[in-house]
């Protein structure tokens, strides 16, 4: 990948980074020279360009560094060797594993699911009891290409059935209620840079807890939002001074509540200046079509591929999948909608990466906080369960099932929930060691006690 030389002209670092992105990216927007000024506002061109190109990037934990340092850190990291990328995709609410991969070949399935049982479709080559949900045609195709590893019953023993608790365990990588850093956050604390917030990126309105770090900065980008500020009848130089003054409000009073408000004002000030030149909606082009949807998920993935192609120094990325998975009622339609868009988007993302020659650098991990009860609840729905389904997607995955489907006869626990045949912490340990190449013991509590399934070919 070619890259602009870092010291060849008088451009600011910021402009340099912008230019490097525009050149390296296959379609990220160059700064458009002919962009019109809004009539009569008195805005300067510099400012208008900046505000019109900025995405709303929230930086977490970089408060010791000025925006210039972060920007230089990003530029420096972008010039370094390309890191492997892990993309975490969360099916929020507890996806019903027994519908995602329906055990139609299990004699008890129809008894436990008289209303909800799915029929037909395609069985997995590795286990002819299990059938792909009809909305997952895309994943099924990738599976046939050996680009999907299936985890039919992943979780942990004595699964907690609270959304919040179980999700927390998965996020922190331990069954510890008080752990405050995410498993990816602790990994980044070990290997990350203290000036590159893009190394841990949430494509969401707020930071994914799995990325929460103790030391190094990470970031979230909500999408195409523009990070602009305006006040009626304040223009030109006065407006510039007003916006600068946001930073002046970020002083450090003794009162904790005031300090919180002041700190955010200081962050806002930095962020307003640190504008990163990409837009996720229409500002870049993708080599493959993505699904059209109200949900931002496909566009976020499209933007992610464009950012990777542009050489932005991403490392761990987290997104929430579209759809409602807490299907206590009305499960068939809700699940179909969510799975369809998730699967179609992931396939488009995979093809995009392949077209851009980036596929070998990216591994996608799809997970949910638990599965659902084996017996349906009678409202066309299912209640909270234990083990659920997971997937790993990418050209470098083994494509070999991890843990078997335990069967509905012997594979249910005392509560009638599917028992786990693979552990989420085992998956994390393998990803840390086989994908990132670090010792899992440095990141995961009790790492030695977990098996290491082979996940990366």
């Amino acid at each position: 990948m070619t890259r602009a030389c870092n010291h060849c002209d008088g451009l600011s670092r910021s402009r340099l980074l912008h230019r490097a992105l525009a050149q390296a990216g296959s379609g990220l927007p160059a700064i458009e020279p002919g962009m019109p000024l809004p009539a009569g506002t008195g805005l300067t061109r510099r400012k208008f360009l900046a505000t019109s190109l900025g995405a709303a990037v929230a930086v977490y934990g970089g408060s010791r560094l000025g925006f210039g340092a972060l920007e230089e850190g990003i530029a420096a990291a972008a010039a370094g060797p390309a890191a492997p990328i892990l993309v975490s995709v969360f099916l929020e609410g507890g996806a019903d594993g027994l519908s995602v991969l329906s055990p139609q070949g299990d004699p008890l399935y129809r008894k436990l699911r008289p209303q909800l049982a799915l029929t037909g479709g395609t069985a997995l080559t590795e286990d002819d009891r299990l059938y792909w949900h009809p909305a997952l045609g895309g994943l099924q195709q990738l599976y046939a290409e050996q680009k999907v590893t299936v985890l039919p019953a992943v979780g942990y023993t004595h699964a907690d059935q609270s959304h919040f608790t179980s999700r927390h365990y998965w996020e922190v990588g331990a069954t510890q209620a008080n752990l405050r850093t995410g498993w990816l956050g602790r990994y980044l604390d070990r290997v990350g840079k203290n000036d590159n917030p893009l190394q841990g990126l949430s494509l969401d309105d707020t930071l994914a807890p799995a990325l929460a770090t103790a030391k190094v900065p990470v970031a979230s980008i909500s999408g195409a939002d523009q990070y602009d500020f305006y006040s009626e009848r304040v223009w030109g130089q006065v407006e510039e001074r007003m916006l600068e003054a946001i930073g002046l409000l970020g002083h450090q009073p003794a009162d904790a509540g005031l300090r919180a408000a002041g700190n955010v004002a200081a962050q806002v000030d930095r962020l307003r200046r640190q504008l990163i030149p990409f837009q996720s909606s229409n500002g870049f082009s993708s080599p493959v079509p993505y699904p059209q949807a109200d949900d931002p998920f496909p566009q976020r993935l499209a933007g992610l591929a464009a950012m990777l192609a542009a050489g932005l120094p991403l490392h761990c990325v987290a997104l929430t999948a579209p759809g409602e998975y807490d299907t206590h009622a009305g499960e068939p339609s809700a699940l179909t909608q969510g799975l369809q868009l998730t699967s179609d988007s992931l396939v488009a993302f995979q093809r995009d990466l392949e077209a851009r020659g980036l596929a070998d650098r990216v591994l996608v991990h799809v997970w949910s906080e638990f599965g659902r009860r084996a017996a349906e609840n009678g409202d066309s729905g299912t209640d909270h369960g234990a083990a659920g389904v997971g997937f790993l997607v990418g050209t470098r995955v083994t494509g070999k099932m991890v843990g078997e489907f335990p069967g509905l006869q012997k594979g249910l626990d005392g509560d009638g929930n599917v028992s786990a045949t693979s552990g989420f912490r085992s998956v994390y340990a393998s990803l840390l060691e086989q994908w990132f190449g670090v010792d899992a013991a440095a990141v995961l509590p009790k790492a030695a006690s977990f098996t290491r399934p082979k996940l990366v070919a």
């Binding site: 709303a56 990037v57 929230a58 930086v59 907690d160 059935q161 609270s162 959304h163 919040f164 608790t165 309105d205 707020t206 909500s222 939002d225 990070y227 500020f229 305006y230 006040s231 009626e232 009848r233 304040v234 223009w235 130089q237 006065v238 407006e239 001074r241 007003m242 600068e244 003054a245 946001i246 002046l248 409000l249 002083h251 009073p253 009162d255 904790a256 509540g257 005031l258 300090r259 919180a260 408000a261 002041g262 955010v264 004002a265 962050q267 806002v268 962020l271 206590h328 009622a329 349906e376 609840n377 009678g378 409202d379 729905g381 209640d383 909270h384 509560d415």
Partner: protein, 441 residues
């Protein structure tokens, strides 16, 4: 009980914690009552009367809170702005967060507003009765699948959240078996569907109730939904949960051990009445000496409007408050809003835009208005506009620095010396509104 001076600053803090901040002169009036008098007035407000102009949308038409998108939000915001019973309205908001029900799962603004009315009517009464009412509230029955829960197909959603989020706290004093047994006890609620109007005819139908024996918290019996509520409220771990959660809405940081115990005793001895516990919290020294709390976005928004006596004349507040992280009737999940995380770089920008919209029609025209070419006078006038909010020295210094720098830019050109002070005045009002002192109280 707070024994220190109950001055205007403390009265103002009380009005922020127990309401939506003062209208001009209100803090002074309240301070004259003394602490006990002030708390009594807030907790025994009498009949509500609404002060100020009736709300309307940007075209001057009345709001349609049952029907038009976003009108539900501004309808309630109007109550917050105009009410004579700020604590009642604040408790309504508190219960909306506590029993967080989202219209994203209910799909009926009418049912959501009915639930809102329930919180307003019952918010200072008995928690036990409130829980009973919430359990059979149609919006809640839809939201947590209560009317899908029947003896043949128990649905655990409400049973679980009732204990985890509403009465006991996660993993406190109940087991997975209790969840299942509670779900059985809670069976029997039904509703019908009408193709045109959606969910209708909410009822309790004994035919759908599981009359069998249940074991809940080691008690045995043929429990019904009323027993279910009673067992939660009388559970030994309930009072501590209730007190800690209620306290967290009013005071930064957890109560000390003695306070926690005293409030628990008060709560139990009053037979689960909310009003005495709230009154005790409002009179507690920690409320006046502790750190400030970041205002929830709607409190911030209503407070700015009250400060300048502006009523609801646009529905823009719906999306603006949503930008700041709080669209009423749409809490992010069943656990409600996270009151420790109101502010981040995105929601702060939402507050900037709220302030911008509050100010827009007051913006002075640099071509016509006149303002002094003097930083201090400009700042004093901007404070005057907001009726003298309590700004700290650092903030005043920051604003003064801004005004001076901007005035300096105007040197040398006569049109700038005319127009810049006007724009600086507009900018100062904006900056005051987003200053730390107006974000946290």
């Amino acid at each position: 009980v707070w024994r220190g001076k109950f001055d205007v600053a403390r009265a103002e803090r009380l009005l922020w914690r127990a309401g939506f901040g003062p209208r001009p002169g209100e803090a002074q009036k309240l301070a004259r009552l003394g602490l006990d008098g002030a708390v009594h007035k807030l907790t025994h407000p009498g009949r509500e009367h609404l002060v100020g102009h009736r709300p309307h949308d940007e075209r001057g038409l009345p709001l349609a809170p049952f029907d038009a998108w976003g009108h539900d939000h501004v309808w309630w915001l109007d109550r917050m702005v105009r009410t004579s019973r700020p604590l009642v309205e604040r408790m309504t908001l508190l219960w909306h967060d506590w029993f967080a029900t989202s219209n994203s799962g209910v799909g009926s603004q009418r049912l959501m507003l009915n639930q809102n009315h329930l919180f307003r009517e019952r918010g200072l009464g008995s928690f036990h009765e409130l829980l009973l009412d919430v359990t059979q509230d149609p919006a809640m029955l839809l939201w947590l699948n209560g009317s899908d829960n029947s003896k043949d197909s128990p649905n655990e959603n409400y049973a679980r959240e009732m204990m985890e989020l509403f009465t006991l706290g996660a993993d406190r004093g109940y087991t997975e078996n209790d969840v299942r047994q509670q779900a059985r006890a809670l069976t029997g609620f039904r509703n019908s569907w009408n193709q045109n109007t959606g969910p209708v005819n909410f009822r309790y139908d004994p035919q759908y109730h599981d009359t069998g024996r249940k074991t809940i918290f080691h008690h045995h019996g043929r429990f019904t939904w009323k027993d279910s509520c009673r067992l939660c409220v009388t559970h030994p771990d309930h009072a501590s949960f209730f007190v800690r959660k209620l306290w967290s809405y009013f005071v930064a940081g957890a109560p000390d051990h003695a306070t926690q115990r005293a409030l628990e005793r008060l709560y139990k001895s009053s037979r689960y009445e909310v009003r005495p516990v709230v009154a005790a919290i409002l009179r507690h020294p920690a409320l006046y000496t502790g750190a400030r709390l970041v205002k929830p976005p709607v409190v911030y928004n209503a407070g700015l409007l009250r400060r300048i006596r502006r009523g609801i004349d646009t529905t823009a507040w719906t999306w603006l408050d949503s930008m700041a992280g709080q669209q009423l009737f749409y809490p992010p999940n069943v656990a409600g809003w996270d009151d420790t995380r109101w502010l981040d770089t995105a929601t702060w920008r939402g507050r900037w835009w709220i302030a911008q919209y509050v100010l827009d029609r007051h913006a002075l025209d640099p071509g016509h208005a006149h303002q002094p070419y003097d930083a201090k006078k400009l700042l004093d006038q901007a404070c005057e506009f907001w009726h003298h909010p309590p700004l700290g020295r650092d903030t005043r210094q920051a604003l003064h620095t801004f005004a001076q720098r901007a005035l300096h830019d105007a040197k040398g050109e006569s049109w700038k010396r005319e127009q810049y002070p006007v724009m600086i005045q507009n900018a100062l009002r904006q900056l005051i509104a987003v200053s730390p002192e107006l974000q946290a109280a």
